[in-house]
Symmetry: D2
C-alpha cells in the first residue's frame, strides 16, 4: 500500500501538500493512518505540469523524509496540477523505475493497491500491453502494467473507460489463477488538464480515497492531510472523481465494465519453440 | 560495450584483478582500449562463489572508481571463481537490475555486446523466456534476456548448447526486423564449478576476448589487464573456452546451431483482445 | 536512536543475526521495540573481520529491508567478529559517510545515542580530534567525532579508557552549552580480536544494551533479537562488556573518568584573523 | 577539475545549456576538451533562482548522462539565473554533500580548481570558517571551504572582495605547507541578482573561463559549448566578470589582496588537552 496526493487548481507550491501540513505526504511516509503499512519508504515521486505539455517527473528510491532534492523541488515549484506519491512495495524491488508516478507523453499515473498474484501473472500481464506502448515498460510493477494497458486500450480517447477496462483485464487474470485478494485500485491520473481519480476493489476492501474542494481548487488524497475530518469527503468504492479548472464531478467507476474475454492461459506459448538445431 | 574479467583457479582476492593491475577492470571503466566506448561507468557488479552453492552478488550503479563498497568487497573476499563487470549501456537505463552479472540459482552470467534492434523486439524477446524462469526477469536489458532464454532452453543440462541456442534465437529475432548489426556476444557464465566464455557476432566484429593460464588458474577477460601482450591469448570468433579446476579446453561455438523456427511475428497477438465490455 | 548487533565467537554468517531471527536487525529497522524511533531507515552498515587485519566495510543509505547488496553480503560472509548497524538520524544527513560502523585501520566503531547540542558544538568537537586522525573525518555525525576523538586519545593502547575520555570530552562540551540531554552512548567497538561495548548516559536514560553468551560466542545487541527475554542479560548503565575468543568480563565504565579541562570556549578563535589586506 | 555553465538574462530552460548544445555540459561530462580530466562523472548539480529568494538546488552523485531527474528538471525549469556543474573529484568522495553548487541562504557557489595540499590542511581550513557559518559545512571539499570562508569574510557586503580574501586565506595555508600547485580557482557565485565569476591561480595555469553575451543575457562557462570559437571571449587570469540584468563588467581579481596573517600553524592546538582524568 502507498500514499498519494493530487492537486488541480490555482498554482500551489508542492511543499504545501508534500511537507508542510500536519499529516503531510512526507509525514505519512513514516506514519500512515489509513493503511496497513504505516511505513511508505520504498520510493517517492512527483509529476507536475508546468511549462511543457508533458509532466516533469522527479523520482527517487530514498525515503521521502531524507531526500533533499525532493524538498528543494517541492519548495521551488508551484504548479496548477501535480501528483505526488510515496511507495510501500507489495513485492517488486525498490528502484527508480518502480516508483510512481509513471508518465507516457502527456499522461501521468499513480496507484495505491495491487493486482493479486501479480508475481505469477506478470508475463501474461505484460503480453496484454500494446506493442506500441511496450517501450515504456521500464519497471516490474503491477501499477505500471495497469497504466500501460490502459494506454493501449485508448486512454487518450476515453480516460475513464480505458482505465476501467485495464483494471478489468488485470482483475480477470488474477481471477483466473484464483488470487485473493484480486484487484485493489485507488489511483489518480492526469493529462495536465483534467485530474481523474478512482476507487475500486474486487472485494470489500477498496483502499481509501478522499477529496477536499475550495475556491483554490481540488485536492484528492489517499488519506486526509490533517485531523480535521469534517473538511474531507470520502469517495465511495466503485466511484471516480473528475476535476478540471472549471468542473468537478463524481461518477460511477467499473460498474458497467464486463470481464474481458482474455486469451485463455492454455493458448499462450510457454516459450518460443526452437527447432532445427 | 562493457568490460569484464573472470577467474577460476586458486582463491584470489578480487581486488587483484579488479583494482590492482596496471589496466585493472576499474582502470578500464575510465579508459578502455579495445572497445569503442572508452567510458564504462553505467554500473558495476561482481559474482563470486564462496560459502554457498549460489554466487554472492554485489551490484551498484555508481562508476566503479567511486564505489567504496566495491573496493572493500574486492579487498576482503578471495574466491576460487568469480565474474566482474563494468557496464556501458547500449540503451537501457542505469539501474541495479540492469547491472551484470545476472544470477539465477547457482548460475551467473555477464555479457559484452548487444542484440541488434532490441528496443523494438524486447516484448518478443521476453515472450521467448520460459514462463517458469520469467520471475527472474528483473531488468530491461538484452543481456539478461539472453541469459534467461538460455536457462529456459536447458542451461543446466547443456551449458554451451543452451547458450548457443539462446543466442541464435535472439539473433533470429534481430534478423527478422532487419537490425544491423545483429548479435554481438562476448560473454561468460558459470555454475561455480565450470567457467564458460564465448565470443561470437553475426558480422565480422565480435567483441574481443582473451585468456591467460598459469599454475594458479585461468583468467578470461574482454581486454588484457596489462600491456604485456605476449602473455595473453586471443580467443577467435565463434569459439568458446571451458575451464574447470582440472581442465581447460577451447571449442567451437555456434557453428552447428541452426536458426530456430521462431513463431513468426505476425502470429503474435499485438495485445490481448478485450471484448464484451 | 539506532539499532545494532555485534558478534565475537565461532564464524557465523552475518545473515544469522541480520536477517534471520524473529526480531532481526532488519526487522528492527522497521519496528524497533526498545527505543523511541521505531523506524531506523537512515542507513545501514556492517564491519566484518575476515581475511585482512582491517575490517571489511559495507554501508549504504537505503533502508536495510530494501538493500539487495546487504542481503547478499550477509548471506555469503561468515566471520568470527562483526558489527552491524541500522541508523535513525538525530540530525545529520542520510549519507554514506554518516553511516555506521566507522573504521580506521583495524578499528571499527558503532554508536546508538547522541551528543547533546551537537549541531552547535560540531566545530569545537572537530577541533578536539587529533590532527593526525583528522583525515578520517569523512562525515558530520557526533558518533564519528566520538570515535575519532578516542583514537587520538590512545584507543590503541587503552581501548576502554580512551573511549571513556572521549565520551567525557564531548559530554563536557555539551554541558558547557547547557545541552539537555547531554551524552547518550551505547556503543560497540573492536580491533578484530576483542569486542568492547559500553552503556552510559549523562542522565538516567542510557540506551538499552543486552548480551547473550553461548558455547559459540558472545552476542551483544541494543535490543534482543527474539522475545525469549530469559536468555538475554541486560547490561546496566555505566558498564562495559569485554569479549575475546577466550574471555568475557563486565566492568565499570566512566565511573573514574573526570571531566576534562577542555580549552574554554571563549579562548577559541571564532575565525582566523585576516589582516594586511 | 570540473566543468560548469552559468546563465543570467531572460529566463531560459536549463536544458538549453545543460543537454542541448553540441558540446553541452552533459557532453562535457563524458568528453571535456579544455581540462586534463576528460571525464567529469563524480556528481552533478544545478542551482536555479525561481520563485523564492534562495536558489533551488538539485544535486546527485550519478554521472550527468545517466541521471533522469536532471534531464527532467533541466527540461521543465526556465530561470533567469542558474548555475550548473559536473564534478571530477580531486580527492574527496563522491557524495551529495560534495557536489556543487553549494548554497547558503540566497547565495550559491560552484568551483573548478583546487586548494593545493587540501588533504593535509583541511582541519586548519575548517577552523578558518566562521563559527556562525560552520553549520553549513556539510561535506569535505576544498571548494565548499572556500565558499564558507568567503561567507564569513563578508560575502553579503563585498561579494568580490570577500571571495578574493577567502582565496588568499586558503592559498596562504597551501603555501605554508609548500603545496604545489597552490590555489587554482575558476568559480562562479550568485545571490540571484548578480552573477560573479572569477579566474585565478597561484601559478600560470588558471583553469579556463569564457563568456558569451547576447541580447538574451550573459553566459559564462569553463569551456565553450560549441566549436564556434569566435563567439566566445576568454577571460584572462586574475580577472572577474560581473553580470546583472542591466550591466556587465570585467574587473581585476586578487591583484590587490595581500596574503593574510593567518594564525601560525604552530599556535594551533593539535588536540584539546584532557587533564584531571
Amino acid at each position: 500500500m502507498c500514499r498519494w496526493v493530487a492537486w488541480l487548481g490555482k498554482p500551489v507550491f508542492m511543499e504545501d501538500l508534500i511537507s508542510r501540513p500536519e499529516h503531510s505526504l512526507i509525514h505519512q511516509s513514516r506514519d500512515a493512518h489509513c493503511c496497513k503499512t504505516a511505513i511508505n519508504a520504498d520510493g517517492v515521486g512527483v509529476a507536475w505540469y508546468g511549462a511543457r505539455p508533458e509532466p516533469g517527473i522527479y523520482k527517487d528510491t530514498r525515503p521521502a523524509w531524507s531526500d533533499p532534492n525532493l524538498l528543494q523541488i517541492a519548495r521551488q515549484i508551484a504548479a496548477p496540477v501535480f501528483l505526488a506519491h510515496v511507495r510501500a512495495s507489495t513485492g517488486s524491488a525498490t528502484s527508480y523505475n518502480n516508483c510512481h508516478p509513471f508518465a507516457v507523453g502527456r499522461w501521468s499515473f499513480m496507484h495505491n493497491g495491487m493486482v493479486g498474484g501479480f508475481g505469477k501473472l506478470r508475463r501474461r500481464a505484460e503480453m496484454g500491453i500494446d506493442e506500441d506502448i511496450y517501450a515504456h515498460r521500464y519497471g516490474a510493477t503491477d501499477s505500471e502494467a495497469v497504466f500501460l494497458t490502459a494506454l493501449g486500450l485508448g486512454l487518450d480517447a476515453s480516460p475513464l473507460d480505458a482505465m476501467a477496462h485495464a483494471v478489468r483485464q488485470l482483475e480477470g487474470m488474477a481471477a483466473e489463477i484464483g488470487a485473493t485478494p484480486g484487484m485493489r485500485f485507488t489511483s489518480c491520473w492526469s493529462d495536465g488538464h483534467t485530474l481523474y481519480a478512482a476507487r475500486y476493489a474486487s472485494d470489500a476492501f477498496a483502499p481509501s480515497m478522499y477529496y477536499q474542494r475550495s475556491a483554490e481548487g481540488t485536492l484528492i488524497v489517499s488519506e486526509p492531510l490533517d485531523s480535521d475530518g469534517g473538511s474531507w469527503t470520502e469517495v465511495p468504492p466503485n466511484t471516480a472523481v473528475i476535476a478540471t479548472q472549471a468542473d468537478f464531478s463524481v461518477v460511477p467507476f467499473m460498474s458497467d465494465v464486463a470481464t474481458p474475454n482474455v486469451v485463455a492461459q492454455g493458448e499462450m506459448p510457454r516459450t518460443l519453440s526452437v527447432t532445427g538445431a
